[in-house]
């Protein structure tokens, strides 16, 4: 039945943007349209990627988590009764999965969620080699000394600033172009770390 419906008709998400587009894809995917699921994977994987990277995963583990999260969505597809909440579900699921991977890597030491949020990511960044100049290096190093929650917020702000990620902005209640008080504090921390670095 689904095939008949979707064969000749325009896809229901065409022309839509942001959360409306995600929700239309979710509803179509729940009805069995696999191309709708592929659209979600194509358009929201960067969101999952940056949440995974903010939560202390290296690039290899983050790649696995992106796939794990999409498989988890497929598995729970019919249980997500609020299609408009997809971006929020992806963020929460990715954080949980990242924590699970890290707990395993750290010899099964359980971190409380508060402790994990406060934990700066200490991973040395191989990307340093391609940094153009010393100021970039210092800023990128300062960025990695921020709390995970700040790194996540700033990375998602970067995504939300792009038109195709309007759903991210909506999920995080981030109107385009605005810097809320929490992000202001994160930017202050970044500035302090950055200047501390360059002064030494």
């Amino acid at each position: 039945m689904t095939e008949l419906q979707t064969a000749s008709v325009a896809k229901p998400w065409e022309g839509l943007e942001g959360r409306d587009r995600n929700a239309a894809c979710m509803i179509a995917a729940q009805a069995g349209d696999r191309s709708a699921f592929d659209v979600l994977v194509a358009e929201l994987s960067p969101l999952v990627w940056h949440v995974a990277r903010s939560n202390g995963l290296d690039r290899t583990s983050a790649e696995d988590v992106v796939q794990t999260v999409w498989l988890a969505l497929l598995r729970h597809l019919d249980r997500l009764t609020e299609p408009r909440a997809l971006a929020g579900w992806l963020i929460t699921t990715t954080r949980r999965e990242a924590r699970r991977v890290q707990t395993r890597g750290a010899g099964q030491i359980e971190l409380s969620s508060e402790a994990a949020e406060q934990l700066p990511t200490t991973e040395p960044s191989p990307e340093h080699e391609v940094l153009r100049d010393e100021r970039d290096r210092q800023l990128w190093s300062a960025f990695h000394q921020l709390t995970q929650r700040c790194q996540e917020l700033l990375r998602l702000t970067v995504l939300a600033g792009r038109a195709e990620y309007r759903a991210v902005a909506e999920a995080l209640h981030m109107p385009h172009g605005s810097i809320g008080p929490t992000r202001g504090r994160c930017l202050n921390s970044l500035r302090a770390l950055y200047h501390g670095d360059s002064g030494s």
Binding site: G32, R34, F37, D38, V41, A42, S45, P46, W49, H50, R53, R59, T60, S61, E63, D64, V66, Q67, T68, W70, L71, A72, L74, R75, R100, V101, R104, G105, S125, E127, V130, L131, D136, L139, W140, F143, L154, R155, T157, V158, G161, I179, R183, G184, L187, N188, L190, R191
Partner: protein, 153 residues
């Protein structure tokens, strides 16, 4: 005093660094789309396995064969990959042991299936190289299916 202009400027620099230095790897979307494109997946209850961390140490990432492990709940699967010319041989061991069905999907190459022996061992030969996913169908009484994220072999 901090101004919005200063925040915007710093945010612009952060955006440039994030976009240039830590973009999503090329091909990840395609690998994720392949991972979810499993036949009849709508009709089965499945569990998502995790690769163990040893994979990176074994050097499998980057195309070098080695031993990799994945697990979910009480199930652990160890896989040893040996290059045989253009193709490869996969030796696996499932714990707890049992005659479980094993399917190896390789992107653009279809899939190969076999059944583990009572000791949980299985062998697949002449497996094409590429983006690879394993599925384990636990034997009848339990009717559990386990799927992995893909790995590039």
């Amino acid at each position: 005093m901090r101004t919005h202009h200063a925040d915007d400027e710093l945010m612009t620099q952060v955006a440039r660094l994030v976009n240039e230095l830590d973009p999503m790897p090329p091909g990840l979307v395609e690998r994720a789309q392949f991972a979810v494109a499993i036949d009849d997946i709508d009709d089965i209850e499945f569990e998502v396995a995790r690769w163990a961390d040893t994979r990176t140490l074994a050097g499998v990432r980057g195309g070098l064969p080695g031993t990799i492990t994945f697990f979910v709940g009480d199930l652990t699967v160890m896989v040893n990959v040996t290059r045989t010319g253009e193709r490869q041989r996969i030796d696996g061991w499932l714990v707890p042991a049992g005659a479980h069905g094993v399917e190896v999907r390789v992107a653009e190459h279809g899939s190969t299936t076999t059944t583990a022996d009572e000791g949980g061992r299985f062998v697949l030969t002449e497996v094409p190289r590429g983006t690879t996913q394993l599925l384990v169908r636990m034997n009848a009484e339990q009717s559990r299916t386990v799927v992995t994220p893909t790995v590039d072999l």
